[in-house]
Amino acid sequence: MKRYSAFAIAREAFRYHTGWERAWRSPEPKSRYDVVIVGAGGHGLATAYYLGKNFGITNVAVLEKGWLGGGNTGRNTTIIRSNYLQDPSAAIYEKARGLYETLSQDLNMNVMFSPRGVLMLAQTEHEVRGYKRTAQANAYQGVDTEFVSPERVQELCPILDIGGPRYPVLGALWQPRGGTARHDAVAWGYARACSDMGMDIIQKCEVTGITQSGGKVTGVQTTRGDIACGKLGIVVAGHSGQLAEMAGFRLPIESVALQAMVSEPIKPCMDVVVMANSVHGYMSQSDKGEMVIGGGTDIYNNYTQRGSFNHIEETVRSLIEIFPIVSRLKMLRQWGGIVDMTGDRSPIISPTPLGGCFINCGWGTGGFKAIPGSGWAMADMIARDAPGPLAAAFSLDRFAEGRFIDESVAAGVAH
């Protein structure tokens, strides 16, 4: 792999940019791999990357039904934060946020991590109490957050109407090292690094069955032939239910659509991420100037990657309430992704009833921020055949044991 650098740009400038190579190889699948990862989104690719980097396991294939990073990795609103209430959540999201800090250097790909700060508005007395509690919990967990006054909120984000008629801003949970990153670049960077380690990334390769023998996984059937494997990692977000059915178990997951949209590009007007969970809306400004907007999930199970129109209206309506300046903005495009929701709104990183088969799913509406930490924990579990400290609390059996990691209250809607 040729390294990206200022020198490389200069070198290519002298030869009309004819020397750039493809970022990753597109090989034919081999008949057997030590580890097969299903799903070449951020989490799947990060799993493969840390398997190679931390454990030296490089005989790995990452299989993708569509195109690389074309699912939720390319459909989210790119927010990165780790201000969670529960200890296991704060640990894995903070691990991920910490890895994002140096991800561009690690991957030799500019993922444009921008720690511009995340404001989560408290607009009811309940939220004030909740976020004060979260700030206190974060202090013990080593996550840098603070509860700030409405005046400070206005200072950080002047375009916000803090007096709002329905829900005045009473304060906010402020995480100064939260922010955004370029979602595609995260997937591409991991893919390029994986390919460089000799791993095979195989796109347009849908898994149609999982073969097993004596309670252990032996391989997968795909649209490009059968592939044998020693261990299998399922990292397919919204379609986890289908893969679990092939493997012979059921998940406590329901798949629903979550929508997002961007406006036409405008001059820089906000340099923080603002989330308003009482009114169901959040917004940040991309480096291109577009306002990136997200809201709540739809109310019914859905696999179509399209959402309901009334949700767009609800999201925009709530945003106009807190950001009056967006009322005249034109929306450029809108899309939906299929998110895998668990009952406690926390992910599942776990061994499964099928031996040698591991699953990483249930990130619901908040997976992008967790990509590096999730991959790190999943790789650790696959390599050692048992969940490590980051993953242990997120096992499947927590539902049977009633050991929930309840973030549905702490995280509200935008998670």
Binding site: H239, G241, Q242, R250, L251, P252, I253, E254, S255, I299, Y300, N301, N302, Y303, T304, S308, F309, N310, G343, F399, A400
Partner: protein
């Protein structure tokens, strides 16, 4: 926008009038059931990519619960029926079968296994 027919009001209700209630026809196990059965009842969901039976409430209407058969892949609605129904009615099964010849209902799967 999703439009479902409320079997009580006998009118078509927009999604904004409705509240979703998740998977339908989940049977609560008896007192002698083991932990696994209760875990399945409480948490495990079919979450199919295809025909799905679900509970809905006409929240901004009559306020009553009803069931709907809907395809999660195409958003096609096969029909709605009152909540006081233990299994999907035969006419709705027939409609689903017409679209998805390979589709198996839960009761048939149980018989097969």
């Amino acid at each position: 926008m999703l439009i479902l027919h409320c079997p009580y009001c006998d009118l078509n209700a927009d999604e904004t009038e409705l509240a979703g209630g998740g998977e339908a026809h989940i049977k609560r196990p008896g007192m002698d059931a083991d932990d696994t059965a209760f875990e399945t009842y409480l948490f495990s969901r079919k979450n199919p990519r295809g025909p799905h039976f679900e509970r809905w409430r006409h929240a901004n209407g009559c306020g009553k619960w009803f069931h709907a058969a809907r395809c999660t892949q195409t958003l096609e609605v096969f029909g709605t029926y009152p909540a006081q129904t233990l299994e999907p009615p035969a006419d709705i099964i027939a409609k689903i079968r017409k679209r998805h010849p390979d589709w198996q209902s839960d009761t048939e799967v149980k018989v097969a296994s």
